[in-house]
């Protein structure tokens, strides 16, 4: 294959890869999710003593209620087929931060996703990705997070 053809092939492959990445929902851009700590969509938040680690658990929208979770669990157990390896559906999405949060005074200029939008889009991933909420001190804490599975 000539060098020119190889280059064209590489470019096309790159474009195709980028295209596929976008189509698969991998957001190659910063994502900032803002939420209220009292939002019922939040299952739990854990912050270690020195704030060097934080863990966030957010309900999948359709499994927010116990009734819905119990139904999904029973539906799985009552299905005679073992359809796939995923098993019982995941009711929550888990995120973790390994760095101390940034303290910011304002959300101005930050392209924000609400928690509802974040859930509606089935937790899109960004690089980097931040969770932001208002602290008791009045400023905003901005945690850089990644998704984690167990």
């Amino acid at each position: 294959m000539s060098i020119a053809l190889k280059k064209i092939k590489s470019i096309l492959l790159l474009l195709f890869t980028v295209s596929c990445s976008s189509q698969n929902g991998v957001e190659k851009k910063e994502i900032n999710v803002f939420f209220d700590l009292k939002d019922k969509a939040i299952n739990k938040i854990y912050v270690n003593r020195d704030s060097t680690e934080a863990r966030f658990s957010i309900y999948v929208e359709k499994y927010q209620t116990k009734v819905a979770r119990d139904k999904a669990t029973n539906d799985y157990y009552n299905d005679p087929r073992d359809r796939n390896s995923a098993g019982i559906p995941s009711f929550t999405a888990s995120f973790i931060s390994f760095n101390k949060p940034m303290k910011i005074n304002s959300l101005e200029g930050i392209d924000i996703l609400t928690l509802k939008q974040f859930r509606d889009k089935l937790f899109p991933h960004g690089y980097p990705m931040y969770f932001i909420y208002k602290s008791e001190e009045g400023c905003y804490l901005k945690w850089e997070v990644i998704h984690i599975t167990y």
Binding site: M1, L13, F16, T17, C20, S21, N24, G25, V26, N43, Y46, E53, R55, S57, V60, T73, Y77, P80, R81, D82, R83, N84, S85, A86, G87, I88, P89, S90, F91, T92, A93, S94, I96, F98, L122, F123, P124, H125, Y127, I146, H147, I148, T149, Y150
Partner: protein, 482 residues
């Protein structure tokens, strides 16, 4: 009659033995080799044939009884005419003439003269004849014979005035063996869907190409074996130093969807894992029946399980698919390798159940699971215990995860070490637990998720918490794949 060879290196042709007997003459015997550009089959029978025909007289068979030759030395000059029987009876709505079959009335049969290449028609007016090529791919000589055929004969030559009936007066109909007609047809179809570059590769590398064809024959020309074969050809074109052995296990086992192939992170992990040989070599140590048949790797988000890092689907039409979630590649490559191994064990469990069912899909029921107890005792046990016949006091759960949590973590650990030997034993052990603790997020204090597996429950709490800490630290301290 059709000839079946034991050692076939050419999947594009078929051969017929033709014996001609005439009154007051000795019988003649020839091998007609049909090298097809296009064949049309109907219900396994040959309907139409386009291509080249070569004829080789069998050793000790009488030679042509003809006049002295013209100066004919090239393949294109050395031919005779033979007659084939054809039929004009419309068939399946088509008026195209075709080879005769049961539907043809006698009134629709007619003779069509066709050209047949044969070394017996060669020769020169001066000097001795030169030896014909022995051929390996349809040259003039019989490529499979140990003697006879080939070479030029000075004594019997046709002339331009020779009538066919004075030369080879026989009528034949090409017979395609029912045993290989399906394979020949698909060999042609496959070759024709290749790009020009791929076809050129096939011509330049007949041995490797033939092995790829043999693989598809064994896989009964499934769509996925075809896709995998095209992928393998691309590999060989890109990496000429690779041999069929480098991709053999892959070709034989795994279909790599373009979505997977084009994902640098996933494909990189997959390549480093050593593809199928790594799994094959390791898992066979534990399960001699392990092999993967029509396994497809792909990338995408499963809409019902958008939070799963990967999903393995139960077999559908004997195909098992593992779909990797592209949203969860922001994790160290070793963790992705762990996901890979974890899902491969799911695939293997499905494969075993499928084979025992003898069907294209698993007939899920307690009766079926009961029926496989003698063959796969442990798998049957976990399915009965957690799905079909839950004992008193027991709880339903995910049978395969319960099984893997108890019995497969060592396998996962060992293969991870083979992938990346730089981590501590604690890290491998911790990673092996991921996906096998149970459903839901682990509690911060107890380490138990809402639906824990029995094996995880049996692990002491302090150990559970420690394992989770080791896992998180590993994620924190290692470079992400994507």
């Amino acid at each position: 009659m059709a000839i079946k060879r034991n050692n076939v290196s050419d999947n594009l042709s078929f051969e017929n033995l033709v014996i001609q007997e005439e009154i007051n003459t000795n019988p003649s015997a020839y091998i007609l080799k049909y090298i097809s550009n296009n064949i049309i089959l109907s219900e396994g029978q040959l309907l139409n044939f386009e291509g080249k025909i070569q004829m080789n007289r069998l050793e000790k068979a009488p030679k042509f009884n003809n006049n002295k030759p013209q100066n004919r030395t090239t393949e294109s000059e050395c031919f005779v005419y033979v007659e084939q029987l054809w039929c004009s009876e419309p068939y399946q709505g088509s008026t195209q003439h075709h080879l005769p079959g049961a539907s043809c009335k006698v009134s629709t049969l007619y003779i069509r003269t066709v050209q047949v290449l044969t070394p017996d028609a060669c020769g020169s007016t001066g000097g001795g004849g030169t030896s014909g090529s022995t051929g390996s791919d349809g040259g003039f000589g019989d490529p499979y014979g140990t003697g006879g055929g080939g070479g030029y004969d000075n004594s019997d030559y046709p002339t331009e005035d020779t009538y066919t009936e004075n030369y080879q007066q026989y009528i034949t109909v090409p017979i395609l063996s029912a045993e290989n007609s399906f394979d020949i047809k698909n060999t042609l179809i496959f070759y024709n869907i290749l790009s020009f570059q791929q076809q050129q590769w096939a011509i330049d590398n007949p041995n490797s190409y033939n092995q790829i064809i043999q693989y598809q024959i064994e896989q009964k020309w499934s769509v996925f074996s075809r896709e995998n074969s095209i992928w393998a050809i691309d590999v060989f074109q890109e990496y000429p130093e690779k041999t069929i052995d480098d991709v053999k296990d892959l070709v034989y086992r795994v279909i790599v969807d373009p979505s997977f192939k084009n994902n640098p992170c996933l494909n990189g992990v997959y390549q480093k894992l050593g593809q199928a040989p790594t799994f094959d070599n390791y898992l066979k140590e534990y399960d001699t029946d392990f092999s993967v048949v029509d396994l497809k790797l792909s990338v995408g988000v499963e809409s019902k399980y958008p939070l799963a890092s990967a999903v393995t689907y139960e077999p559908i039409n004997s195909l098992i698919e593992i779909k990797f979630n592209p949203n969860y590649l922001n994790t160290p490559p070793l963790n992705i390798a762990r996901t890979f191994i974890h899902e491969m064990i799911h695939a293997e469990t499905y494969r075993k159940l499928l084979i025992l069912s003898g069907k294209g899909e698993i007939p899920w029921s307690s009766d079926f699971i009961e029926s496989i107890k003698n063959d796969e005792e442990k798998i049957a046990h976990y399915y009965m215990m957690y799905k079909y016949e839950i004992p008193l006091g027991g709880s339903p759960s995910e049978p395969q995860h319960e099984y893997m949590a108890q019995l497969s973590r060592n396998i996962i650990t060992e293969v991870m070490k083979q992938y990346d030997s730089s981590q501590s034993e604690d890290v491998y052990n911790a990673l092996a637990w991921i996906g096998l603790m149970g459903g839901g997020e682990p509690d911060e204090t107890t380490g138990l998720p809402p639906q824990p597996t029995a094996a995880w429950v049996a692990t002491p709490q302090a150990e559970r918490v420690r394992i989770l800490e080791i896992y998180r630290n590993f994620i924190k301290n290692n470079i992400k794949c994507q």
